[in-house]
Amino acid sequence: MRQFLTLVFTLVYLLGIAQDYKPVNLSAIKARHIGPALTSGRITDIELHPTKSNIVFVGTAGGGVWKSSDAGLNFSPVFDEHCQSIGTIAIDPVNPDGVVWVGTGETWTRNSTSVGCGIYKSDDGGDKWKLMGLENTERISSIVISKKDPNVIFVGALGALWGDSSDRGIYKTTDGGKTWKKIFYINPRTGCSDLVVDPGDENTMYASFWEFRRLPWSFTSGGPSSALYKTTDGGEHWNKIGKGFPKGDLGRIAIAIAPSKPERLYAVVEAKEKSGMYRSDDGGQHWEFLNGDFALTVRPFYFARIAVDPSDPDIVIKAGLSGAISRDGGKTFKGIGSVHSDVHDIVFNPKYSDMVYVGTDGGVYRSLDKGGSFDFVDNIPVSQFYDISIDDATPFNVYGGLQDNGSWYAPSASLSGGIDASKWTGVGYGDGFRVFKHPTKPVIYSEMQSGEGIWRYNQKYGDIKVVKPYAEAGDPKLRFNWNGAIALSPNHPDRIYIGSQFLHRSEDMGDTWQKISPDLTTNDPAKLKQDESGGLSLDNSGAENHCTIFTIAESPLDDKVIWVGTDDGNIQLTRNGGKTWKNVSQNIEGMPKFLWCYKVIASRFNASTAYAVYDGHTQNDKHPYLFKTTDYGKHWLPLATSEIKTFLRTVAEDVNNPDVLYVGSEMGLYVSLDGGNHWQRMKNKIPPVAVHAIAQDPKTGALVLGTHGRGAIIVDDIGLLQQLTSKVRQEEVHFFETDPFIMHEKSAFYSGGNDRTDFVGQNPSRSAKIAYYLKKRHVFGKMKLSIQDMEGHEIVDLTPLKAKGLNIVSWNYRMKPPKVAKGKTFVFNSLTAPRVRAGKYKVVMTKGKKTFEKVIDVRYDPTSNYTSEDRQIQYESTMKLFDIQQDLAYLVYQIDEYRTVLESLQQDSKANLQNILAKMTVLHDKLVVNKGDNYVGQAEPMLREKLSRLYGDIANYFGRPTGAQLANLHKLVDEFDEAQSQWKSIRQQADKAIADTGDQPLKIKDFEAFLK
């Protein structure tokens, strides 16, 4: 039976290939990134152009590669089509404007680090990238490119973190990356953690090798295979060096060469005794211990970069908790200027070494005084959310905790500009994880790592209280995961759950706790020795806490049904509110034991249904594991197919359609339209970033992704997938059903200040989104999309999108602006088009000879403070001014036409023409501005300008015009009527004058023709 089920599992996994599923084009569904960037995120590597100070590349732990072309003022992402965990970046010294290499996979091997996907090359300065192999190395630490022949490249691969692997060591290519040869390898546990080349002799290189291993419950740094090696023949032979290094096993070794004095080497060596900085002045033959300060020796697995001033071999900076600088050749150190903690990389500008960049857990900093003081780059939104949640506000707020950057929330939309740094509010310290808003009260829950702090923050009273559960009499020590499990009840607003090895429940927002389960984990003593973790350097930060509850879900349909997943493989279920528990993970067939249950969710459609995601990558297993049960865990159906390319972190069920499922993988978001039979990756502005958490707003269908590297990403239009059935996909054209469109009626002034580099998250579109499906791309022939009233009068002509699959066209509820009188200058207020009234409208698509129609419903904002009468007066006033501006335009057109004719008659015609022309000029000058310019040379406003200004004031508002505006409208109408009357008289005189010359009466366009 077990074998049979394994076979079924394998078949389902391969289904994607077997049935040749064709993904639907969903590129119209565009994501928007809201940051935050005020915290930025973990930076792994910085690379500067060798000669152009303006070019800077930044590699990040989970947010890809960013490039600046203005010396670090502004950065843009340049690696969004590939995995986002970056180990190192190298610029070709021969063709630095063109060729850039990226080795993927972060090498600062913390518990939450991601994995890479090989080495990439760009030939155009980082615009487009091509995979050049080494896909299985997982973590690339170094790239050395020959100055003599850029086709010769050496790569140091640190390799797998969570298990044995032979895909590590030093690789060499001699054909620009087409083929690779592994030229130096130690063993499956030991990888190349650094590789540096002598700037004067590229046959001389130094390579540090590190023996290391991480398990979900422990970390080991160091062993007999860790060592420093040197080659003097271009990598043919490598000799272990380190005379003067500590005795015994070594750990991670950081290595750097002084560019101005290549025989000077610095190394920071991890060892049981005498860890610290060593220096060699003879090319590595002899080493002298200089300094064992905390700043140098702290957490070698996390900080192993040394940078030497290119112009002074005695100035050296070591990465670390805060970063430290020596100006005496490494003998003594002091801290660098204030930056975010956890400095991972430091680079000196090669030509002007006072300019220094550092990369930290909290982003990039720049110094112009060699590290004495720094300013922060505020436009790299690579924050790493561990979790994400939303509330039920309109617009909803987004809550979450960040790796080493606290906990935050921000609105998903703002009235002014977008979501800039000022929109984010801090709600927790340390590493932030799960953050929840109380469903009905102004209370936010947040936490710090390993249950060290669990806070209840009442914003109304400014009250922050620690509300975590403590061990009760007779209890063992409570074990909280690094990313401790917290969940709210979907049924009881004041109820909150927290998971240690037990499930704790509070009915009073954390003031009192009840333990409602036994130890739900395996409680394996072998996995509870965190105080021994770290290897040569003890590292018991809490990050390795294990045998803990990791995910909790109370059924929205039955408050007695609670699912719990643990980091050591269990899924436990109670159906009686915690009185009894059953381990239902044992019913999952075909899955390795003790993998990490990363997410379990209770279905909102059926109490017996749940979904579970398992993550095996911490046991060196990167398969996606996703299961569904419909019978309270008795049976589980595997849902992950080969269409999903890597391991999973989370799953979410669409709020309306149970056939639509979302999963967050380590490399992007996937969606299924058929209950998990097939999956496709959502790509448009969603890079292959680790998606740790998903929340969906039930009101709008918007999906919010908590990514571990690109902050919070919102996919506003993904709710359309609920309608994308297989039947719809067969239609030539299909318009999607949409909820009534609400016309946004709120405004605010800009309040962003003068910071021109601050990242600003995009607001959602406030337009009506007309969504349709095209079976085929429209390439040839005319295609038109217009909005009409229900009588078929065209209101506006939109630009149709023509892609195969889903298309979304925005309409801003506006008609066309009025045609205005021609004058010397422009009337910008008249660029405003009147807004339509609430009601039903037709969307009409003309495609070749075929026509397709859809009726849409447009409504006023129900939260606005305007009465129906207000709106009616506003609309009528707007349209009155719209019409009168067009009437005036026609009047001025007539004057211009007549004047042209009369001037042509003047030379040989009667004297009274002069008089008529003079009258026309006087009238014309009253109607439109005929002098000045559009800036400070503007003339006094005439009737056109006055009408336009009033029109703009009224049409851009949504409610009742002021009394002054209405009075002004009457006044201007009177002025126009008077002008009409004058023109009628002048025109009669002009017609007579023309007739007197014997010419034919002047033919001018009628009003309708003029408007066209």
């Binding site: 084009n25 843009s76 791309r777 002509d797 892609a803 660029l831 005929n930 002098k931 310019d933």
Partner: protein, 266 residues
């Protein structure tokens, strides 16, 4: 039998492997009117409407093989020349003062290089000194395309020559480009990706040309140009390209009597 297999192999090979860039371009020119008709183009006039931010602005454009260029638009009844070039210098009307101002030297240098793009940058690209290569295939909004890399003459930006690279995406089904992409070379958006989508291919004289071009920056629609007509080798009055010492506009006659405003900048 053996011959059949060989023939089959050759056919398959031709369709699967032999899709070099010149073959794609040849099919493109054939599908859109033929090389001869393309080569007949000495100058091109485009008339249509530019749609952006809810506005519809009529425009009229002209470009010739010998570097003459005119772009004018009608804004609130006034005709504005945004760009005019006789191939040696270029000017445009300042929107604030509505007076002609000369374009900066870098713009002029870069405009001169554009003349080669008539009738198409791909026509005789080698003689132009352009480099064209097939850069793989890519799905563009659900349509399979060939990605063709076009390297044109470098641009002069802020005193430096920078590469001028465009990627054209040719629909694999019918060999017409449906999109082109390039990095914005200068200004506050420098470095960001601008895409132009080509649609509504229809007859234009003896050719088949796109009547709609929608521009996106970083995926967001910036503007679209909807053409009413193309004119191939039209009559053209070159005197309009001459830099006007006074305001070039044809405005209300009354303004002729008005003195120029000399106010200082605020």
């Amino acid at each position: 039998m053996k011959k059949t297999f060989i023939a089959l192999f050759v056919l398959l090979g031709a369709s699967v492997f032999a899709q070099d860039v010149d073959g794609i371009l040849q099919k493109y020119f054939e599908a859109t009117g033929g090389v001869e008709n393309w080569k007949n183009i000495q100058s091109l006039r485009t008339v249509g409407v530019m749609k952006m931010q809810g506005m519809e602005i009529p425009f009229d454009g002209y470009q010739s093989k010998d570097g003459k260029m005119l772009q004018k638009a009608n804004f609130q009844g006034k005709e504005m020349i945004f760009l005019a070039s006789d191939g040696q210098m270029a000017w445009g009307v300042n929107f604030m003062t509505m007076k002609a101002e000369k374009k900066d030297n870098e713009t002029v240098e870069n405009l001169k290089k554009q003349a080669k793009e008539i009738p198409s940058p791909f026509m005789d690209y080698k003689e132009k000194g352009y480099a064209v290569s097939l850069d793989g295939e890519k799905d563009i909004d659900g349509t399979n395309t060939f990605r063709v890399k076009l390297v044109k003459d470098s641009l002069l930006v802020d005193g430096k020559m920078i590469p001028n690279v465009e990627y054209y995406y040719f629909d694999k089904e019918n060999y017409v480009p449906i999109m082109k992409e390039a990095a914005i070379p200068a200004g506050p958006m420098a470095g960001q990706k601008a895409q132009t989508f080509f649609g509504d291919y229809r007859e234009a004289g003896d050719l088949i040309l796109p009547y709609e071009m929608t521009s996106k920056v970083n995926g967001n629609v910036a503007q679209s140009m909807v053409l009413n007509k193309y004119e191939i080798n039209p009559e053209f009055d070159e005197s309009v390209l001459k830099f006007p010492e006074e305001a070039p506009e044809k405005s209300a006659p009354a303004e002729k009597s008005m003195p120029a405003d000399k106010k200082e900048d605020k």
